[in-house]
Amino acid sequence: MTANGIFQIILYLFVLLLTVKPLGLFMAKVFQRERTFLDPIFGPVERLIYRIAGINPDDEMDWKQNAIAMLIFNFFGLIIVYAIQRLQQFFFLNPQGMSAVSPDSSFNTAVSFTSNTNWQGYSGEMTMSYLTQMLALTVQNFVSSATGIAILVLFIRGLARHSATTLGNFWIDMTRSILYILLPLSIVLALLLISQGVVQNYSPSVEIPLLEPTRDVSGTTVTNQVIVMGPAASQIAIKQLGTNGGGFFNGNSAHPFENPTPLSNFLEMLSILLVAAALCYTYGVMVKDTRQGWAILAAMLIIFIPVVFCTYNAEISGNPKLSASAIDQKTSDINPGGNMEGKEVRFGIANSALWAIATTSASNGSVNSMHDSFTPIGGLAALVMMHLGEVVFGGVGSGLYGIVIFVIVAVFVAGLLVGRTPEYLGHKIETYEMKMASLLILIMPLTVLFLTALAVITTAGKAAVFNTGPHGLSEILYAFTSQGNNNGSAFAGLSVNNPFYNVTGGIAMLIGRYWLAVPTLALAGSLVRKKLVPPSEGTLPIHTPLFIFWLIAIIIIVGVLNFLPALALGPLVEHLLMVQ
């Protein structure tokens, strides 16, 4: 590791932490319907939306009504995204004349974008018209992340309120999170990205002559290059902020028009964790105990930081097998050193490793380097961050409600350890809560393991693998881990745009999002009805370093133990074979 690399990682963490409190406080105000400086601008728009949609801003709903609202809204979103892809050839803003997307790919993409996964089986610049990118994908980037935030806010109210029945109103929380949080942040970020050279236009692709003609695989001489265009900046901003991650171009944030400079890289990387980290503070404010928010953020960082450095170290150490071929992997002033395969020279190893861990921990899924080319340990780290259940930061909203589920499990066992019926924030944790929490922690591993197992024994599943050896297992495992956790990042090395992977992946994403969201809301619906149990000396404090350590232990035990055999046969053995 170089001092420069370490400094860049620390700088990143420092800036991220600086944003937590102000943004977190602002978001808490938005969800508690307090006045903010944006009210004069967006207040009238908000009221207009409610009037058109026929929503009474004072109406509250119980968990079932909210869950139904969320499901209906997402279902229609899914249908629209599917329809636009299938019909895009009839619409305008299609300068490249893209034809209809295949049914299985359209299904996969529709599920992917509504479920905030943004797994991309397709290649953006080869498949989607500008209209599809904007109307279908960018819109879902906003509403899918707003859905996650709204579910979180409803869930938090379940914990903040006592002896009540309603959790708030999904429509209002979603509208407000778009208008006051996602939209303003996206506008600012899009403008900053444009300043760095990210494209934002409706022009068709430009063909320019190459400075130096080259030959393609078949041996024909290539003299011209096609430069793709499009309204990229507006989509990239929300793709980063809303933990979506679906790139405008196939190269995602490794593409020079999507992420041209180190500064744009820093901003995009910051945006991956920005909202998820600040929501921890929002949580603390809304449950009226900011220590709870800080404790959760601390637990996230204690897992996150070592994994970042571990990945950075693995990547910069390079591949011992290559040293034998006299390839210089030493870091020097003119050589980044280490494993540079699949990494952009303008970002280097530190920023690629940091991005990889940020994007897998945050369920973002955008990439600025190719994870498939990482060392086995680097790939393992990215996999593990997802196997933890996307609760270390995680998707906006979904990550936080995910980690609170782990807090509830941790509180339950800790409560037993101290001889008291477990309680969290004054709510007794009883049978129903444990039922929901158990469901929530078991769905993801089962989905991922089952689908991976299915893929490795079917011809269709195995045919897609490009690589031999244990790396092939890692690739399949990564694909389902990413989709089952609504991450969306791709290990690549797997040809996934075929019916088998499009359909199984689509199922994994649906389960990963909605089968978890509904029990989460049910849990909130049960918690909100509980009588307040006031804290006493006998109450276990849940913001202490000891409890944070316990929470981390629970997350790691539940996350890693389930996948240890699979990891041992994939990246772990690949690493052992590499260093042999």
Partner: protein
């Protein structure tokens, strides 16, 4: 009721050889899958044991996926795992069964005299006690056993209740008031009673007690259900992990180009090692043992739920008298009026109390003797006439008329205002200094007793409530546990404040009426607190019914016992503190064993994963950090450890985790250190040792 069964109840029943045999017998019966399905974790183990046995038979006839000795050993240890879990439950139940049998013996099929008219002397016919219904009226005469729970409607008798309470001294039961409840199975020693049956057969107190002890109708408690759900979730996840491992293994063989697929036997071994069998196997024993610990403290809980609730109590309502203070006030000091010698006051006070058999009176005699060496004199020797306390005069005393001499001494002692009225009436005066003394003593929380001889006020005796020894320390322990203590007393505020300060309670309710108790409980509950209380009288019943944990004294009335969810056979109000600790212990034992069980998985992975894929990826041997000798010995050692750890922890499950009064954070740290970190380390050592032993014995090589 014989005194033998009495002793059996009083003394905790230890584990005897025959109980082990019984437990073994019952643990075989528990293999019944219909019973087993109640415990999801062990049910899974049983199912895979059957599967593994089938594989073994297949291997024996020559179609095995692995050597027959290996599959056979694994199946044998899997069956042992189930057996050990069954054994722990049977052992826990065994203790209760022995106690229930002792009680049932007392419940010999007694006959009852059913009266035609509900009055003494009416005609009766003899019926079997089994045929009795609620509302029947019975006659029970000396030497007979009371056939059913009931209420005395006529008569007074001494009753031997040792069958229930273990207390050999007979108690008085009479119609009306707080002593009218009788319990089925107790024996009338003298006189007769006419009793109205208050329960139908089988619903009596003794029946309920037997049910509870036997655990026959044991319902899982809410917390136990919640834990069971979590354990089931872990089981399902690990089932998924193991099932998916076969495809992964097949793929890996293709990828590596070498090796044999993981055998079903190894997958089964991995599954059983990963699922939380330790806690799953012991969970039910922990619950039964918790109930059993209550019984050994002579507390009968009506449900396991009540015991769990006891661990959560935040507020204890304690009656002052009997719980915090000794039952009675005691004389602690003599303060004489100006110009009067203390010795004289003591002497006169002692004389006035010679024939006073109340504890207060006796304490005055003793204090005078201890402080001034005044020996008690016989009332008859000094030709005295004792004046007992009466509600009208509110004084007691003594008139001494020495034979043939003048100088009649009229001595009185009583409350200040009563004496003042008396002195003024006979023409004396009540000195203002004594008045001041009286006020001062009241302020300090004691009761002043003024002594007067003829017309002269001699001084004041301090009567004080004596706070029980060690009670302050117990309250401070409770405070550390986060439990608030509230003293309930009928005393005035002044007295109550002083005693509250001396006993170290957190709060008190003075001049309390029974309905105030109920109000107080409701207030605390509205604030989300869980309230525990003890009570004995009929007027306590509403409050007992309202409290979350209500302990009725066994000497209490039937209605109090009905309203409560626990009955203390010793009728010792301080027992509440033990009840709270047992409740906490119950949850803690579950928590620690769960943590231990899950923490064990780490080592088991390190044992099994390299062994399972030894032929495919020899490189994985780097994970074999225990350096287990062969793949077979590694897997077998893990399975054996997994089975043996259950037996090793049975004593802990039955005894419960040792309780220490400390804050929740300290307890968490302590338990995570012992059972969390310990749970990670122990199996590494255990599995290694078993592996060495297997090699040494030549089972594997």
């Amino acid at each position: 009721m014989t005194t033998q069964s009495l002793d059996q109840l009083k003394r905790p029943i230890g584990l005897t050889g025959s109980m082990y045999m019984h437990a073994l017998f019952y643990s075989l019966k528990k293999f019944n899958p219909i019973l087993m399905v109640r415990n999801p974790v062990m049910f899974v183990v049983e199912v895979v044991s059957v599967l593994c046995t089938v594989l073994w038979i297949q291997a024996l006839i020559g179609y095995g996926e692995a050597p027959a000795w290996f599959i056979g050993s694994i199946s044998a240890w899997l069956w042992l795992t189930v057996l050990f879990a069954n054994f722990s439950e049977a052992l826990a139940e065994g203790r209760g069964k022995a106690q229930a049998d002792a009680l049932r013996k007392s419940r010999r099929d007694a006959s009852a005299k059913l009266l035609n008219e509900p009055t003494y002397g009416s005609l009766y016919k003899t019926v079997s006690s089994i045929d009795l219904k609620k509302g029947d009226v019975l006659l029970v005469e000396a030497g007979e056993i009371i056939a059913s729970d009931g209420e005395v409607i006529e008569g007074i008798a001494s009753v031997d209740e040792s069958a229930i309470t273990g207390e050999s001294a007979p108690v008085i039961r009479e119609s009306g008031g707080d002593r009218s409840a009788v319990t089925g199975g107790t024996r009338v020693l003298s006189d007769w009673l006419v009793i109205r049956v208050t329960v139908d057969m089988g619903g009596g107190f003794l029946d309920r007690m037997i049910h509870m002890i036997e655990g026959a109708k044991r319902q899982k408690t809410p917390n136990e259900i919640a834990l069971n759900i979590l354990l089931a979730a872990f089981t399902i996840i690990f089932l998924g992990v193991c099932v998916s491992l076969l495809p992964f293994s097949l793929y890996s063989i293709e990828a590596a180009g070498q090796g044999n697929p993981i055998t079903v036997t190894v997958l089964i071994a991995l599954l059983v090692c990963l699922i939380p069998t330790t806690i799953g196997g012991l969970l039910s024993a922990i619950g039964i043992a918790g109930m059993d610990r209550m019984i050994r403290h002579n507390v009968i809980a009506t449900s396991g739920r009540a015991i769990e609730a006891a661990g959560d109590v935040d507020v204890l309502l304690l009656d002052k008298t009997g719980t915090i203070t000794m039952g009675n006030r005691m004389a602690t000091e003599f303060t004489s009026a100006p110009g009067i010698l203390k010795e004289r006051l003591a002497d006169v006070a002692q004389l006035a109390s010679l024939a006073d058999e109340t504890p207060e009176g006796r304490s005055i005699v003793i204090l005078a003797k201890e402080k001034y060496g005044l020996r008690g004199r016989d009332v008859h020797d000094i030709h005295a006439h004792f004046i007992p306390f009466s509600a009208q005069t509110r004084m007691s005393g003594i008139n001494i008329q020495p034979e043939g001499k003048n100088g009649k001494r009229i001595i009185r002692k009583g409350a200040a205002d009563a004496i003042r009225m008396y002195v003024v009436e006979i023409g004396g005066s009540f000195p203002s200094t004594v008045n001041l003394m009286v006020q001062e003593i009241s302020r300090l929380g004691a009761t002043p007793l003024v002594v007067v001889e003829n017309k002269e006020v001699l001084g004041v005796v301090h009567l004080k409530d004596i706070v029980k020894g060690g009670i302050k320390e117990r309250f401070s322990r409770l405070r550390k546990m986060g439990i608030k203590t509230v003293m309930i007393t009928g005393d005035n505020r002044l007295t109550a404040t002083a005693i509250a300060a001396e006993a170290g309670v957190d709060d008190f309710l003075s001049e309390a009426k029974p309905e105030d108790k109920l109000k107080l409980i409701r207030e605390y509950q509205k604030g989300g607190r869980l309230v525990a209380m003890t009570g004995d009288g009929t007027n306590d019943a509403p409050a007992l019914a309202q409290a979350d944990v209500a302990v009725a004294m066994n000497t209490g009335t039937q209605s109090a016992r009905e309203a409560a969810n626990m009955v203390d056979l010793d009728s010792n109000p301080t027992k509440l503190l033990e009840i709270v600790e047992i409740g906490k212990q119950l949850l803690m034992t579950r928590g620690t064993l769960t943590t231990f069980s899950i923490a064990n998985d780490v080592a088991k992975y390190f044992a099994i994963i390299p062994a399972a894929f030894a032929t495919t990826y020899p490189a994985l041997d780097i994970l074999n950090i225990m350096k287990l000798t062969t793949p077979e010995s590694a897997i077998l050692s893990a399975v054996i450890f997994n089975a043996l750890i259950i037996t090793a922890l049975i004593p802990l499950a039955l005894k419960g985790v040792g309780y220490r009064a400390m804050s929740a954070a300290q307890l968490l740290r302590r338990h995570l250190l012992i059972y969390g970190i310990g749970g990670v380390i122990t199996p590494f050592i255990g599995i290694k040792l078993i592996d060495m032993l297997l090699i040494f014995m030549g089972v594997c090589q």
